[in-house]
């Protein structure tokens, strides 16, 4: 009886500590976000650093060499793609043809009103709301300028944190393990290794999947001559990290742009078909080969964590919530599997 009482006390204490840690993490949210993104970047780059180490470099040299190579590649890509990307972004900022959009919104409104007449809907004022949104957007430009400073700071901080994680992760891990009491030491050692492996595989799979989808979507949109195809394609790839919501939002964006730009419903249907094919290819060909099979999150859990991520950490939280939950699930699964093999009383 006393033993079970003690166990409940331990569970309650563990829960309280967990909640306190969670609260603390929410309080220092920005730092947590930075750390998670850096860790993801480190997981992505780790196999490359390890393979450079295999060629006789030490960890510091390998990490530094990879950073130099990557900056050269990224610099080259930016140099080549900058003119095209810049003109696309400029077109995106100035090219949103307000008059065309207003006419399109009026058309949509008439259609919706004719469909929903039986509900008593007469006037939606869509175009007026759009106009207001444009004014709000203009007001936001100043606050956006401020966030550019944060963005640049983060662009420097994230690779820097990832660099130190890549270089020192083994030493940090060894130091952490040295703090574990003898009885639990082997268990923790195996657990950390398994979590590290599985999380790395999961994150690399997700990101690779997103990149492939991004490229496929960009290619499809380019074939269909949709305007801003690079930006929409990239958005679709990134959004793909959020299951269910991601692929649909990419498709909606592409269809809306096609409708606003051309006003041609048939063209929009082609875009929808192209997105369905990309989605199908993802589910049938890419995901089974790239994404770790062990991590199957139930749909309801995915929706809940996306909402929680969005609530506490914004859009980035929505993007990161699923990979982080996936990594947590893998950790719990592996932990339980190994724990059962030990005789802890």
């Amino acid at each position: 009886m006393r033993k079970s009482n003690n166990r409940w006390k331990k569970i309650a204490l563990g829960g309280a500590i967990g909640l306190a840690v969670l609260g603390f993490l929410v309080l220092i949210g920005d730092l947590v976000k930075l750390f998670i993104i850096s860790a993801i970047l480190a997981y992505l780059l780790d196999p490359l650093v390890t393979s450079l180490e295999g060629r006789g470099l030490n960890r510091l040299q390998a990490t530094a060499t990879l950073y130099i190579l990557l900056s050269m590649v990224l610099g080259g890509l930016l140099f080549l793609l900058m003119p095209a990307l810049a003109s696309e972004f400029q077109a995106l900022q100035t090219g949103l043809d307000i008059e065309k959009t207003m006419t399109f919104l009026d058309k949509v409104e008439k259609l919706i009103v004719s469909w929903l007449k039986f509900l008593g809907i007469r006037n939606l004022n869509l175009s007026q709301k759009f106009g207001q949104a444009m004014v709000d957007y203009g007001n936001q430009v100043f606050s956006n300028l401020l966030s550019v400073v944060t963005l640049i700071t983060n662009l420097v901080l994230i690779p820097l944190m990832a660099f130190f994680l890549l270089k020192d992760w083994r030493a940090i891990k060894k130091r952490l393990i040295s703090l574990v009491p003898n009885r639990y030491f082997e268990f923790v050692l195996i657990l950390i290794y398994k979590i590290d492996q599985q999380t790395g595989r999961y994150i690399r799979g997700q990101v690779l999947d997103a990149i492939i989808i991004g490229i496929l979507a960009t290619f499809a949109l380019w074939l269909l001559e949709v305007r801003y195809f690079v930006v929409i394609g990239a958005f679709t790839g990134v959004a793909n990290l959020i299951p269910y919501v991601g692929p649909i939002s990419g498709a909606i964006l592409a269809i809306s742009v096609t409708l606003i730009e051309t006003g041609d419903f048939i063209h929009a249907v082609y875009v929808a078909i192209a997105f369905s094919i990309v989605e199908l290819a993802d589910k049938a060909l890419v995901q089974p080969n790239v994404v770790a099979k062990a991590v199957n999150l139930p749909p309801l859990l995915i929706i809940v964590v996306i909402i929680i991520g969005g609530k506490f950490f914004g859009v980035l939280g929505m993007l990161l919530s699923v990979p982080v939950t996936g990594a947590l699930k893998v950790s719990l699964q592996e932990g339980y599997k190994i724990f059962r093999q030990y005789r802890f009383s």
């Binding site: 390890t50 180490e53 295999g54 960890r59 083994r170 060894k174 393990i177 040295s178 003898n182 009885r183 030491f185 082997e186 050692l189 195996i190 290794y193 190994i338 093999q341 030990y342 005789r343």
Partner: protein, 184 residues
Amino acid sequence: MIDSFWGNIFRGPDKEKENIRKTLKKIPIFEGLTKKELAAVERILHRREYKSGEIIFYQGEPAAGMYIIEQGKVKVYLEATQQVLVELHDGDFFGELGLLDDSPRSATVIATMDSTMLGLFKTDLLELISHSPRLGVKIILQLSTVLGRRLRKSNDQVQALQVKLHTLTQKRKANAGKTDAKEQ
């Protein structure tokens, strides 16, 4: 107590590293490794201190890797019968099969005096193989040699036992034949 505390502070990491390297040089698995390679092995070792009577691992638990006794004494025994298989001390190593296969620990090991162990684990060895394959192969080859030598010794023992058994069976048959003849 206070003496050992200050002793530990003043012993410093260099002295510790020197001790580890001295111990490693005596282990056949690390034979033929250069100074640089020994330093790489040392980086993946875990130094653990055990009190007298403390269990190092239990029979039946997952085998994570091997331990080298830097200083101290341990007893290896079977759980069911409490039969002591062997007692090991400074410079000896145990659990090396755990570096190669996934089968559980075949015996329990307990420290019989305050001891310091150096743990080399499969997880770390796998990481070492991925980033320093040449060194990894050297260690695995040496490990195979050690295990091969041990297997050959076991085979010889089994063979000797089989010969003994055969002789005994022959003797028993001969004796049984003689008794039958007498009875007739």
